[in-house]
Symmetry: C2
Subunit: 206 residues, 2 copies
DNA sequence: GTCTATATGGCGATAGAC
DNA sequence: GTCTATCGCCATATAGAC
């Protein structure tokens, strides 16, 4: 394991990440980022020129974490159970380590879609693999409805418990952080089973 | 149909609602609210004293829309299909009319749980009906896992497509607002079927 | 590269006339 | 109740010494 270099730039990015995640673009303060990085406010501008550009760098870094390539799996033989297993493992594990990501990304896109549109489109290289995936889903699942319903359902089941964490934790878990985290870990298998369940009943209809 | 009174207070609340929903507490500007209400900034303070209190009033109003009583249904005979139908109808219809609500509420709770905790606890009167509901769910569904997994799944399937609207619309619908709205309307039945599907397979296991 | 000091503008809030 | 004018603060950003 290589120890990361502790350059000033890295330290700033880390501090900025924490503050932006917690407060959002509008609520974050350059002073607080500087304090947390234990440097002076002016230095932030020396490295990143503006709050906007600093935020962009942070968003870029965080958004990268949600766009690993599952695209490749599509090129091999398309086995939906295997793909689903991979998909859930990949994202559930990432979310357990970074539970704040959904709310952060969804909020910031909601507040400022313009800023973010370009970099999302680029990152995802969408035009290629999504239509292929949807087509294959439709074949494999033996459904005659829009396969995006299935895809959105899978994502909902995985992601929403993180996006809605503060509210769900409050209402259903009496604000017990520990209990809710255990619940989220359990959920990995629950989601998988629920979806497999759906897939099987669809196949049996044939 | 009774025409609502157009009192100044109502006009302010409406303008504030629009701006807070669009920009969030931190991003909203009193000046913009005043402009949209076509009044002067000072008048906002005359009616609501501070931005904080104005926000609270708006949040209260919006949060009320998600807390209609389904509790009563529990007191009659507990039929899970009927209850689910009611639940989905109630919330799906409300969301089709107010698609911004999930993202607004989740963001603001995420950014400032303290402000909101009390009024949520009060509104929901949680201590009573949720444990009862969970207990009955467990019996009815013939499951041995935590029934909150089921409940969270239902909510996820209904709510996430709204919470994640800007991103999903961008990635899966090429930003076609109309197409996505149609998708959301279709989804009402899709969610219902997916859940009923799950319930039936659980019952058949018995 | 890193700091102190300061410019510049915008924001929430209030005073006070009408 | 509604307005104009203004206060006081705090945020981003820059100038310039070291």
């Amino acid at each position: 394991m290589v120890k990361k270099e502790e350059t000033t730039e890295k330290i700033i990015l880390q501090a900025a990440r924490e503050v932006f995640v917690e407060k959002g673009m509008d609520g974050a303060r350059m002073q607080e980022i500087a304090d947390r990085a234990k440097i002076n406010k002016a230095l932030l501008h020396y490295y990143f020129r503006s709050k906007d550009k600093l935020f962009d760098a942070v968003f870029e870094e965080i958004f990268s974490q949600v766009t690993p390539r599952i695209g490749n799996a599509l090129e091999e033989d398309f086995n939906i159970e295997r793909l689903l297993r991979m998909f859930i493992d990949l994202y559930a594990d990432m979310l357990i380590k970074n539970p704040f990501i959904p709310q952060f990304i969804l909020s910031e896109i909601y507040r400022n879609p313009e800023r973010i549109r370009e970099r999302i489109i680029n990152k995802l290289g969408i035009q290629n693999f999504i239509p292929i995936m949807l087509e294959k889903l439709k074949e494999e699942l033996n459904i005659n409805h829009d396969p995006r319903h299935f895809l959105v359902s899978v994502i909902s089941l995985i992601v929403f418990p993180y996006a809605g964490k503060p509210l769900i934790k409050m209402v259903l878990f009496k604000d017990d952080e520990r209990a809710y985290n255990d619940f989220l870990i359990e959920r990995k298998e629950f989601s998988y089973n629920m979806i497999i369940n759906y897939i099987n009943t669809q196949k049996n209809k044939a």
